[in-house]
């Protein structure tokens, strides 16, 4: 059973990673927590579902559609809810209030458009299961892990090889220096939002495909966990977020397997608190915590 549980954890964790990376990106570049990120994830799932239903398309199309859709959504959020506040230089909780507002709006819009309860992807997309020794894996799980890895790799390449990606890292290090170097921070922020939201949207589709439980409220739980992972991996550190997500998935699954499930979330938070107390820079963060 242990091996199977680890596989379960890996699958679950890869979706967590995608969301955590988004948080890390936004926090890294903007220094703030995007409390509606979970809702962007949710919208990704819903957009993906609609594409499948309207166009009778397969999961690949849904994925691409969700990526684009949520990227656009992210841009809109940045322009309406974040940029105006940045201009005014208010205290750090002003953007948080704004994101709470965004989250509420997205939840209600989703409820109106898609109903309040969970829906699932149509069963045409039913996965194939394979048995490798003591472990059972489904094609959907492979798809999830594979897609997540591809996306993370793409992100890594983008951040280290492309100009825009490097500009983003520069801005994350120091906005002032970046500006001095002639980087348009406004544009970088827009791109950051688009990328972070796209990843969350992809995670949404993957989760929807695998767990078949899409609802307007699925983002809340994920949002909180994503925050925890970002902390685990080191704030603003996307590689930390990747590993942290997988780790958290494994921890969660193992705690369910060997303890009672109702303590599952408590376990996650306890781990989080321990990290905060003993290694606040996260597992992979470097240097002092400001």
């Amino acid at each position: 059973m242990l091996l199977q549980q680890l596989v379960n954890g890996l699958m679950l964790g890869s979706t967590y990673s995608l969301i955590a990376i988004g948080y890390a990106l936004i926090f890294g570049v903007l220094g703030l927590v995007h409390l509606a990120h979970g809702e962007v994830f949710m919208m990704g799932a819903l957009i993906g579902l609609q594409i499948v239903l309207w166009l009778h398309a397969g999961p690949a199309v849904a994925l691409v559609g969700a990526l684009l859709g949520t990227a656009a959504l992210g841009v809109v959020i940045e322009l309406t809810a974040f940029r105006p506040i940045r201009a005014r230089n208010g205290p750090i909780f002003a953007p948080m209030v704004s994101t709470i507002g965004v989250g509420l709006i997205l939840q209600e819009v989703a409820t109106k458009a898609f109903g309040g309860e969970q829906v699932g992807f149509p069963h045409r997309l039913e996965p194939v299961t394979w048995r490798l020794g003591p472990v059972t894996i489904s094609s959907v799980q492979v798809l999830i892990l594979g897609t997540a890895l591809v996306l993370m790799l793409a992100l890594h390449l983008w951040v280290t090889r492309t100009r825009m990606g490097m500009a983003m890292r520069a801005s994350a290090e120091s906005t002032l220096t970046a500006r001095l170097l002639g980087i348009s921070t406004d544009r970088v922020i827009l791109v950051t939002f688009a990328v972070a939201s796209a990843l969350a949207g992809a995670a949404g589709v993957l989760v929807g495909l695998s767990f078949n439980a899409i609802s307007p409220f699925m983002g809340i739980d994920m949002g909180v966990k994503g925050l925890a992972i970002m902390l685990l991996g080191g704030l603003g550190n996307i590689y930390g977020a990747m590993v942290g997500g997988l780790l958290l998935g494994a921890i969660e699954v193992l705690s369910v397997a060997y303890l009672a499930s109702s303590y599952r979330d408590a376990f996650v938070f306890a781990v989080m608190i321990l990290i905060l107390l003993f290694r606040p820079q996260g597992l992979f963060g470097v240097g002092q915590v400001r």
Binding site: Q5, L12, G116, H123, P127, T136, F217, D221, L254
Partner: protein, 380 residues
């Protein structure tokens, strides 16, 4: 600090004035008014949407009932405030609702204090009506009245089942009591051992860990106590991981969307309820057909029970001489209360013969159902 002081006072003044303006009570109309509480937004909105269709169907049938409808958003706070509003400002003679057991817990005492009969069509948590007699009633069946028959038939169909694993939603009060108390008791009575009880929570999306654990315990049968969302996901995961044992589920999963969400994995799952959309009974079939004309999704329990509860309430309004005049309000409410407590073998249009017992709980003949070829069927 002039700037913020002035703004504060201004804001408070505006808010208070608007609050007072909206709080002025309207004069009561000379017709019996019934309050209806449903979650039309927020969580539970989809149950509320179903109930809304049922309410419209009821209203279109005519009759001298004025309905005052409020949206509780599924929130206890709103439920409390709105119950008070119905009793104190809208002067209703009875209240139908609310939907959630939590909401019922908070509104029933308010109704008792306001001496107004309140009847929930759907709350299934054990004991809430009993704790608020004589004003509180419950039209939904509770698991303690159903599970005996269910387990009986399930074991009859699967005689080789001697040990089971229970998968239970510990966050939902009704499922929790079903899965931790009622079902295990019914099983033990019939000589079946519960190897283990594995928990999950409402809203969970991943069940792989729980199912893997269940698989490793090697039971003869599986018991699921959950709502239809979670139940469908659990059942899918069970079949996905290769468990082929027979599954019995508590009444929480009873909803046409269970089959929709679970897909082929739902085949063979047995449960129990008093309403299902494929009931061949002509009265029910007619009602379902009409409902389907008005709504894209088939009716759930919530809709059927709302319809029937309104019907019972209407019958009481007509039979017990409720006048609807403001002076008679107190007496009218007492008449309604007495009428409801005397309901015996009332032929409710959709769910059938209904009786309210001394606890205010509904008694009906439960039907054990099994999923065959994508539909619920009754088990002989």
């Amino acid at each position: 600090m002039v700037s913020h002081g002035k703004f504060a006072r201004f804001a408070l003044a505006v808010l208070t004035l608007s609050a007072l303006a909206l709080g002025v009570a309207e004069p009561a109309a000379a017709q019996a008014k019934i309050g209806v509480l449903m979650p039309l937004s927020g969580k539970g909105a989809s149950y509320g949407a179903h109930q809304q269709v049922a309410v419209k169907m009821f209203q279109d049938k005519g009759g001298a009932l004025t309905l005052v409808i409020y949206d509780t958003r599924g929130e206890n706070t709103d439920a409390i405030n709105l119950t008070r509003k119905l009793i104190g400002s809208d002067h209703v003679v009875a209240i139908v609702g609310p939907l959630f057991s939590g909401e019922s817990e908070v509104t029933f005492p308010v109704a008792v204090q306001g001496k107004t009969p309140i009847i929930t069509p759907t709350s299934a948590k054990p004991g809430i009506a009993a704790a608020n007699r004589p004003w509180a009633f419950r039209n939904a069946l509770t698991s303690d009245k159903l599970d005996g028959a269910l387990v009986e038939k399930w074991l009859a169909a699967n005689p080789s089942v001697k040990k089971v694993v229970i998968l239970v939603d510990t966050k939902d009060a009704v499922s929790k009591s079903d899965g931790s108390i009622v079902l295990p008791a019914a099983l033990k009575e019939r000589g079946v051992t519960v190897i283990d009880s594995i928990s999950f929570q409402t809203g969970d999306i991943d069940y792989s860990a729980q199912v893997t654990k269940a698989k490793s315990l090697n039971p003869d049968g599986l018991v699921v106590a959950a709502l239809y969302n979670e139940g469908a996901n659990v059942v899918r995961e069970l079949r996905k991981q290769g468990l082929a044992q027979p599954i019995v589920a508590g009444l929480g999963i009873m909803d046409p969307r269970f089959i929709e969400l679970a897909g082929p994995a739902a085949e063979g799952v047995m449960t129990v309820n008093d309403f299902w959309t494929d009931n061949p009974d002509p009265a029910v079939a007619r009602w379902v057909a009409e409902y389907k004309q008005r709504s894209p999704t088939p009716p759930s329990n919530a809709a059927a029970l709302m319809y029937d509860t309104l019907d019972i309430v209407r019958a009481c309004v007509e039979k017990s001489g409720v006048s609807g005049k403001p002076d008679d309000l107190e007496k009218d409410r007492e008449r309604m209360r007495d009428c409801l407590s005397r309901v015996k073998d009332y032929k409710a249009p959709v769910t059938g013969s209904t009786t309210f017992n001394a606890d205010g709980d509904a008694l009906r003949q439960p039907v054990v159902l099994v999923v065959r070829k994508g539909k619920f069927e009754s088990v002989r």
